[in-house]
Symmetry: C2
Subunit: 243 residues, 2 copies
């Protein structure tokens, strides 16, 4: 097995965008493709590592970009949320950028375009949910410590992508009421959904960059149990999707 | 592999009790033990089948009895909940009967007494939670479509058994408020807990006896997705416990 990375510069509304695709280049058959959607900071090394981990599971994984080439934020910077806030204010544009990223993934010769999914972290979790909500043709999406507010467009009727929501119960960005509202939304939209909630875990529980640092705020931090369990849940979920 | 069943008649407060233990009798080494706690109807063939499925995974599994030998109810009978209600009114007695069942499991030569867990269905899910709450020395418990009201004794401080709650989101016996109250309880008690909630699934989602029958009431019925996913989640959980 030899996992390789390739940097892809691609088009889309407000582009160009720049992402990294990872796959085993010793495999010849087309295989399932998984989009990896970055957190608030934008496309970065930790997303590429997630893509490599997915490639090691036998998938082609594309750590995509929704902010635009060169638009990245450093952890802890005062303006770290600026690109996110900008895009969060235009969920229709976000939807179209996500669609462009899915199209790049499906277009790869190594990818079976009938077998794709998306995973995302923090803001990327919201993006994964938006892919499902907007009716993108992916089999399933996984939100890791995502954010649950609805976009300003209507949900697909029905939402066809299966949904796994991995949630830290102590996440201040996803209170029990917000979780319940998401559950109601997904139920109303006819989605096949699951919620895995982890006690004592907060926002960003998969984020290794926070592992050895004090929490930037209460309810935010790395959690080894939730990280391991949610990755296992994702593996089970992808296995079920791609049968 | 040859899975065998043995009927065990055993003592305890209000006994005798009668359960069925299942294991692979071609294995010689002591292995982890799993208690299987029946639903409202009491110990029955479907519990023995769960025990056999666990035995096939490499465990010794004991489908126990908390009502007493011969005290069983038929599905759909008018008085189907009588034994449960009786015991539900005396959670201290229930705790002691559960402890007696755990002791029988741990006492088997084929069981490694340092590696035990419990799973339960419906009322048995409540019983599994009560094992954790009452500080029984088991590594973990799984509640399948359980009921979440607290007993009238204090929780162990801390609750040491790990907890997996598999929950049908549409379960009328476990509303979002009741789920949130359980999450708060387990968090306050310092338990390592997870909740897996399944959209569109209701109470009794693992109960094959309801598979081809109309729902006895709204929000109650078999659900193949939730049944399969929760069993997978249990397998992952037990693997983690018994490392």
């Amino acid at each position: 097995m030899a996992i390789v990375r390739e940097t892809l510069v691609y088009d889309g509304p407000g582009g160009p965008f720049e992402g990294v695709i990872a796959y085993d280049d010793e495999v010849e058959a087309a295989r399932p493709g998984v989009l990896v959607i970055p957190n608030v900071l934008g496309q970065k090394e930790s997303d590429n590592q997630k893509a490599e981990a997915l490639a090691a599971l036998g998938y082609v994984a594309f750590a995509c970009d929704v902010y635009g080439q060169g638009r990245r934020k450093a952890p802890g910077s005062a303006d770290y949320a600026d690109y996110m806030n900008e895009l969060d204010a235009d969920r229709g544009l976000l939807r179209d950028r996500l669609a462009a990223s899915v199209a790049v993934l499906k277009d790869r010769a190594a990818v079976d375009p009938t077998k794709t999914a998306a995973i995302g972290f923090c803001f990327g979790g919201k993006c994964a949910l938006d892919l499902a909500r907007s009716g993108q043709d992916v089999l399933g999406v996984v939100s890791f410590h995502g954010v649950y507010d609805r976009p300003d467009y209507d949900d697909a009727d029905p939402i066809r992508a299966k949904i796994l929501v991995c949630h830290g119960w102590d996440d201040p960005l996803g209170t029990p009421d917000q979780v319940t509202a998401l559950a109601d939304e997904l139920t109303d939209a006819g989605a096949d959904w699951q919620l895995h909630a982890y006690g004592h875990a907060g926002h960003a529980f998969t984020d290794l960059a926070l592992k050895d640092r004090p929490a930037p705020r209460p309810g935010v931090g790395y959690d080894a149990h939730a990280d391991r369990r949610s990755w296992q849940a994702m593996k089970n979920f992808l296995t079920e999707l791609f049968v």
